[in-house]
Protein backbone atom coordinates (compact mmCIF):
# COMPACT_ATOMS: atom_id res chain seq x y z
CA UNK A 1 0.00 0.00 0.00
CA UNK A 2 1.83 3.08 -1.25
CA UNK A 3 0.87 6.68 -0.76
CA UNK A 4 2.11 10.07 -1.89
CA UNK A 5 1.60 13.55 -0.49
CA UNK A 6 1.67 16.48 -2.88
CA UNK A 7 3.39 19.59 -1.60
CA UNK A 8 2.44 23.06 -2.74
CA UNK A 9 4.06 26.39 -1.83
CA UNK A 10 2.28 27.26 1.42
CA UNK A 11 1.30 23.70 2.41
CA UNK A 12 1.85 23.40 6.16
CA UNK A 13 0.08 20.19 7.20
CA UNK A 14 2.09 18.09 4.76
CA UNK A 15 4.48 16.81 7.44
CA UNK A 16 1.64 15.89 9.80
CA UNK A 17 0.02 13.98 6.95
CA UNK A 18 3.24 12.19 5.97
CA UNK A 19 3.81 11.16 9.60
CA UNK A 20 0.26 9.87 9.95
CA UNK A 21 0.48 7.88 6.71
CA UNK A 22 3.88 6.45 7.67
CA UNK A 23 2.84 5.51 11.18
CA UNK A 24 -0.39 3.84 10.15
CA UNK A 25 0.73 2.14 6.94
CA UNK A 26 4.23 1.29 8.13
CA UNK A 27 5.44 2.27 4.66
CA UNK A 28 7.51 5.21 3.45
CA UNK A 29 5.47 7.98 1.85
CA UNK A 30 6.44 9.59 -1.44
CA UNK A 31 6.40 13.37 -1.70
CA UNK A 32 5.61 15.10 -4.95
CA UNK A 33 6.30 18.77 -5.71
CA UNK A 34 3.44 20.63 -7.36
CA UNK A 35 5.41 21.38 -10.54
CA UNK A 36 5.77 17.68 -11.34
CA UNK A 37 3.55 16.33 -14.10
CA UNK A 38 3.48 12.65 -13.17
CA UNK A 39 2.68 10.74 -9.98
CA UNK A 40 4.71 7.85 -8.62
CA UNK A 41 2.99 4.46 -8.68
CA UNK A 42 0.89 4.80 -5.53
CA UNK A 43 -2.56 3.66 -4.39
CA UNK A 44 -3.41 6.83 -2.48
CA UNK A 45 -2.69 10.46 -3.37
CA UNK A 46 -3.10 13.04 -0.60
CA UNK A 47 -3.50 16.80 -0.93
CA UNK A 48 -2.55 18.20 2.48
CA UNK A 49 -3.75 21.17 4.48
CA UNK A 50 -2.18 24.60 4.56
CA UNK A 51 -2.43 27.90 2.76
CA UNK A 52 -1.22 27.12 -0.74
CA UNK A 53 -0.36 30.31 -2.59
CA UNK A 54 -1.39 32.29 0.47
CA UNK A 55 -5.05 31.55 -0.29
CA UNK A 56 -4.75 34.17 -3.04
CA UNK A 57 -7.75 34.53 -5.39
CA UNK A 58 -9.73 31.77 -3.59
CA UNK A 59 -8.47 29.11 -1.19
CA UNK A 60 -7.01 26.25 -3.20
CA UNK A 61 -7.75 27.93 -6.55
CA UNK A 62 -4.20 28.38 -7.79
CA UNK A 63 -2.96 25.05 -6.43
CA UNK A 64 -5.88 23.34 -8.18
CA UNK A 65 -4.46 24.58 -11.50
CA UNK A 66 -0.84 23.64 -10.86
CA UNK A 67 0.91 21.17 -13.20
CA UNK A 68 0.57 18.06 -10.99
CA UNK A 69 -3.21 18.37 -10.80
CA UNK A 70 -3.77 16.96 -14.29
CA UNK A 71 -2.05 13.78 -13.12
CA UNK A 72 -4.23 13.77 -9.99
CA UNK A 73 -7.37 14.11 -12.15
CA UNK A 74 -6.22 11.30 -14.42
CA UNK A 75 -5.48 9.09 -11.39
CA UNK A 76 -8.93 9.80 -9.94
CA UNK A 77 -10.57 9.03 -13.31
CA UNK A 78 -8.77 5.69 -13.32
CA UNK A 79 -10.21 4.91 -9.88
CA UNK A 80 -7.13 5.57 -7.81
CA UNK A 81 -7.88 7.02 -4.38
CA UNK A 82 -7.45 10.69 -3.63
CA UNK A 83 -7.81 12.34 -0.22
CA UNK A 84 -7.87 16.09 0.35
CA UNK A 85 -7.84 17.50 3.86
CA UNK A 86 -8.65 21.16 4.61
CA UNK A 87 -6.79 23.11 1.91
CA UNK A 88 -6.70 19.82 0.00
CA UNK A 89 -10.53 19.69 0.10
CA UNK A 90 -10.63 23.25 -1.20
CA UNK A 91 -8.32 22.22 -4.07
CA UNK A 92 -10.50 19.22 -4.94
CA UNK A 93 -13.60 21.42 -5.26
CA UNK A 94 -11.67 24.05 -7.22
CA UNK A 95 -10.33 21.33 -9.53
CA UNK A 96 -13.84 20.01 -10.14
CA UNK A 97 -13.00 16.61 -8.63
CA UNK A 98 -15.65 17.19 -5.97
CA UNK A 99 -18.89 19.16 -6.32
CA UNK A 100 -19.62 22.46 -4.57
CA UNK A 101 -17.35 25.12 -3.12
CA UNK A 102 -15.82 26.07 0.22
CA UNK A 103 -16.54 29.65 1.14
CA UNK A 104 -15.52 32.01 3.93
CA UNK A 105 -16.73 30.79 7.34
CA UNK A 106 -20.12 32.31 8.12
CA UNK A 107 -18.67 33.81 11.34
CA UNK A 108 -15.83 35.37 9.27
CA UNK A 109 -13.47 34.03 11.93
CA UNK A 110 -10.64 31.59 11.44
CA UNK A 111 -11.66 28.59 13.55
CA UNK A 112 -9.08 26.41 15.27
CA UNK A 113 -10.80 24.05 17.67
CA UNK A 114 -12.29 20.62 18.09
CA UNK A 115 -15.66 19.72 16.64
CA UNK A 116 -17.80 16.61 16.76
CA UNK A 117 -18.10 14.63 13.54
CA UNK A 118 -20.70 12.05 12.62
CA UNK A 119 -19.64 9.32 10.23
CA UNK A 120 -22.47 9.21 7.69
CA UNK A 121 -21.38 6.79 5.01
CA UNK A 122 -19.25 3.74 5.79
CA UNK A 123 -19.68 2.34 2.32
CA UNK A 124 -16.45 3.84 0.94
CA UNK A 125 -12.83 2.70 0.97
CA UNK A 126 -12.06 5.61 3.28
CA UNK A 127 -14.68 4.83 5.91
CA UNK A 128 -15.49 1.10 5.80
CA UNK A 129 -13.74 0.38 9.10
CA UNK A 130 -15.52 3.24 10.84
CA UNK A 131 -18.74 2.90 12.74
CA UNK A 132 -21.76 4.26 10.87
CA UNK A 133 -23.49 7.01 12.84
CA UNK A 134 -20.68 7.21 15.41
CA UNK A 135 -19.87 10.70 16.66
CA UNK A 136 -16.19 11.49 17.22
CA UNK A 137 -14.09 14.45 18.17
CA UNK A 138 -11.76 15.93 15.55
CA UNK A 139 -9.76 19.16 15.20
CA UNK A 140 -10.50 21.77 12.54
CA UNK A 141 -8.39 24.79 11.58
CA UNK A 142 -9.63 26.88 8.67
CA UNK A 143 -11.01 30.18 7.45
CA UNK A 144 -12.83 28.91 4.36
CA UNK A 145 -14.69 25.76 5.26
CA UNK A 146 -18.25 26.84 4.63
CA UNK A 147 -19.52 24.18 2.23
CA UNK A 148 -21.88 25.43 -0.45
CA UNK A 149 -23.57 23.75 -3.38
CA UNK A 150 -26.71 24.76 -5.28
CA UNK A 151 -29.94 23.04 -4.26
CA UNK A 152 -29.86 20.54 -7.13
CA UNK A 153 -26.24 19.51 -6.48
CA UNK A 154 -26.89 19.28 -2.75
CA UNK A 155 -29.87 16.99 -3.33
CA UNK A 156 -27.72 14.82 -5.59
CA UNK A 157 -24.90 14.58 -3.05
CA UNK A 158 -27.34 13.66 -0.30
CA UNK A 159 -29.26 11.24 -2.52
CA UNK A 160 -26.09 9.41 -3.58
CA UNK A 161 -24.82 9.13 0.00
CA UNK A 162 -21.80 11.26 -0.86
CA UNK A 163 -21.74 12.95 2.54
CA UNK A 164 -19.03 11.06 4.42
CA UNK A 165 -18.89 13.24 7.55
CA UNK A 166 -21.20 15.81 9.10
CA UNK A 167 -20.61 18.20 11.99
CA UNK A 168 -22.63 16.89 14.92
CA UNK A 169 -24.00 18.07 18.25
CA UNK A 170 -24.34 21.68 17.06
CA UNK A 171 -20.59 22.06 16.42
CA UNK A 172 -20.79 23.22 12.78
CA UNK A 173 -17.93 25.74 12.93
CA UNK A 174 -18.37 27.45 9.58
CA UNK A 175 -21.99 27.53 8.38
CA UNK A 176 -21.66 24.58 5.97
CA UNK A 177 -24.94 23.59 4.33
CA UNK A 178 -26.44 20.44 5.86
CA UNK A 179 -23.52 20.47 8.37
CA UNK A 180 -21.32 18.95 5.67
CA UNK A 181 -17.74 18.33 6.84
CA UNK A 182 -16.60 15.87 4.19
CA UNK A 183 -17.86 14.48 0.89
CA UNK A 184 -16.84 11.94 -1.69
CA UNK A 185 -17.32 11.97 -5.43
CA UNK A 186 -20.08 9.78 -6.85
CA UNK A 187 -17.66 6.86 -7.38
CA UNK A 188 -16.41 7.13 -3.80
CA UNK A 189 -12.69 7.14 -4.64
CA UNK A 190 -12.14 10.85 -3.93
CA UNK A 191 -12.73 12.20 -0.40
CA UNK A 192 -12.43 15.80 0.73
CA UNK A 193 -12.88 16.90 4.33
CA UNK A 194 -12.18 20.06 6.33
CA UNK A 195 -11.32 18.38 9.69
CA UNK A 196 -7.84 16.97 10.34
CA UNK A 197 -7.91 13.24 11.18
CA UNK A 198 -4.11 13.19 10.72
CA UNK A 199 -3.89 15.20 13.93
CA UNK A 200 -5.69 12.58 15.99
CA UNK A 201 -3.65 9.43 15.58
CA UNK A 202 -1.46 9.14 18.67
CA UNK A 203 -1.84 9.54 22.42
CA UNK A 204 -0.03 12.86 22.47
CA UNK A 205 -2.75 14.20 20.18
CA UNK A 206 -5.25 13.49 22.92
CA UNK A 207 -7.03 10.80 20.98
CA UNK A 208 -6.76 8.13 18.33
CA UNK A 209 -10.10 8.64 16.63
CA UNK A 210 -8.50 9.75 13.35
CA UNK A 211 -6.79 6.40 12.84
CA UNK A 212 -9.88 4.49 11.71
CA UNK A 213 -10.11 6.48 8.49
CA UNK A 214 -6.51 5.79 7.51
CA UNK A 215 -6.81 2.15 8.60
CA UNK A 216 -9.88 1.81 6.37
CA UNK A 217 -8.21 3.17 3.29
CA UNK A 218 -4.99 1.21 3.82
CA UNK A 219 -6.83 -2.07 4.45
CA UNK A 220 -9.07 -1.59 1.41
CA UNK A 221 -6.30 -0.55 -0.94
CA UNK A 222 -3.96 -3.31 0.25
CA UNK A 223 -6.72 -5.84 -0.45
CA UNK A 224 -7.50 -4.37 -3.87
Amino acid sequence: MKSAVIIFPGSNRDRDMIKALEKISGQPVATVWHTETALPDVDLVVLPGGFSYGDYLRSGAIAARSPIMQAVKDAADKGRHVLGVCNGFQMLTEAGLLPGALMRNASLHFVCKEVMLKTENTNTAFTSKMEKGAVWRCPVAHHDGNYFADAETLAQIEGNGQVAFRYADGTNPNGSLNDIAGITNAKGNVLGMMPHPENLIEDLHGGLQGRAMFESVFANLAAA
Partner: protein, 79 residues
Amino acid sequence: MKARVTVTLKNGVLDPQGKAIEGSLGSLGFDGVEGVRQGKVFDIVLTDRDAEAAKAEIEAMCEKLLANTVIENYAIELL
Protein backbone atom coordinates in the same frame (compact mmCIF):
# COMPACT_ATOMS: atom_id res chain seq x y z
CA MET B 1 -5.42 47.19 -24.38
CA LYS B 2 -7.16 46.99 -21.05
CA ALA B 3 -10.06 45.00 -19.76
CA ARG B 4 -11.91 44.87 -16.50
CA VAL B 5 -13.43 41.69 -15.12
CA THR B 6 -15.94 41.95 -12.30
CA VAL B 7 -16.64 38.79 -10.33
CA THR B 8 -19.70 38.69 -8.10
CA LEU B 9 -21.37 36.02 -6.02
CA LYS B 10 -24.39 34.39 -7.61
CA ASN B 11 -27.82 35.12 -6.21
CA GLY B 12 -28.64 32.80 -3.36
CA VAL B 13 -25.01 32.35 -2.31
CA LEU B 14 -24.58 33.60 1.23
CA ASP B 15 -22.08 36.47 1.50
CA PRO B 16 -21.06 36.86 5.14
CA GLN B 17 -18.50 39.53 4.22
CA GLY B 18 -21.15 41.59 2.46
CA LYS B 19 -23.39 41.19 5.51
CA ALA B 20 -20.62 42.40 7.84
CA ILE B 21 -20.02 45.43 5.62
CA GLU B 22 -23.75 46.14 5.54
CA GLY B 23 -23.79 46.03 9.35
CA SER B 24 -20.83 48.35 9.56
CA LEU B 25 -22.42 50.87 7.17
CA GLY B 26 -25.52 50.82 9.37
CA SER B 27 -23.45 51.45 12.50
CA LEU B 28 -21.79 54.41 10.75
CA GLY B 29 -25.23 55.92 10.37
CA PHE B 30 -25.84 55.20 6.67
CA ASP B 31 -29.56 54.55 6.73
CA GLY B 32 -31.47 52.75 4.07
CA VAL B 33 -28.76 50.30 2.96
CA GLU B 34 -30.83 47.31 1.91
CA GLY B 35 -28.01 45.00 1.03
CA VAL B 36 -24.28 44.74 0.25
CA ARG B 37 -22.67 42.03 -1.87
CA GLN B 38 -18.90 41.94 -2.03
CA GLY B 39 -17.09 41.03 -5.25
CA LYS B 40 -13.73 41.29 -6.97
CA VAL B 41 -12.35 43.40 -9.80
CA PHE B 42 -9.46 42.36 -12.06
CA ASP B 43 -7.86 44.96 -14.32
CA ILE B 44 -6.07 43.08 -17.08
CA VAL B 45 -3.60 44.55 -19.56
CA LEU B 46 -3.42 42.60 -22.81
CA THR B 47 -1.27 42.98 -25.88
CA ASP B 48 -3.32 44.76 -28.53
CA ARG B 49 -5.71 42.53 -30.42
CA ASP B 50 -9.10 42.49 -31.98
CA ALA B 51 -11.91 43.19 -29.46
CA GLU B 52 -13.75 39.94 -30.17
CA ALA B 53 -10.57 37.90 -29.72
CA ALA B 54 -9.80 39.76 -26.49
CA LYS B 55 -13.25 39.04 -25.11
CA ALA B 56 -13.00 35.38 -25.99
CA GLU B 57 -9.58 35.15 -24.36
CA ILE B 58 -10.77 36.84 -21.17
CA GLU B 59 -13.87 34.69 -21.06
CA ALA B 60 -11.61 31.63 -21.11
CA MET B 61 -9.56 33.18 -18.26
CA CYS B 62 -12.75 33.65 -16.24
CA GLU B 63 -13.94 30.10 -16.83
CA LYS B 64 -10.55 28.56 -16.06
CA LEU B 65 -9.36 30.66 -13.14
CA LEU B 66 -10.73 34.10 -12.33
CA ALA B 67 -14.20 32.97 -11.30
CA ASN B 68 -15.41 29.83 -9.57
CA THR B 69 -18.57 29.39 -11.59
CA VAL B 70 -20.09 27.17 -8.90
CA ILE B 71 -20.60 30.29 -6.78
CA GLU B 72 -19.63 33.28 -8.92
CA ASN B 73 -20.71 35.20 -12.01
CA TYR B 74 -18.40 37.35 -14.06
CA ALA B 75 -18.75 40.35 -16.37
CA ILE B 76 -16.15 41.50 -18.91
CA GLU B 77 -15.65 45.08 -19.98
CA LEU B 78 -13.09 46.26 -22.54
CA LEU B 79 -11.75 49.66 -21.45
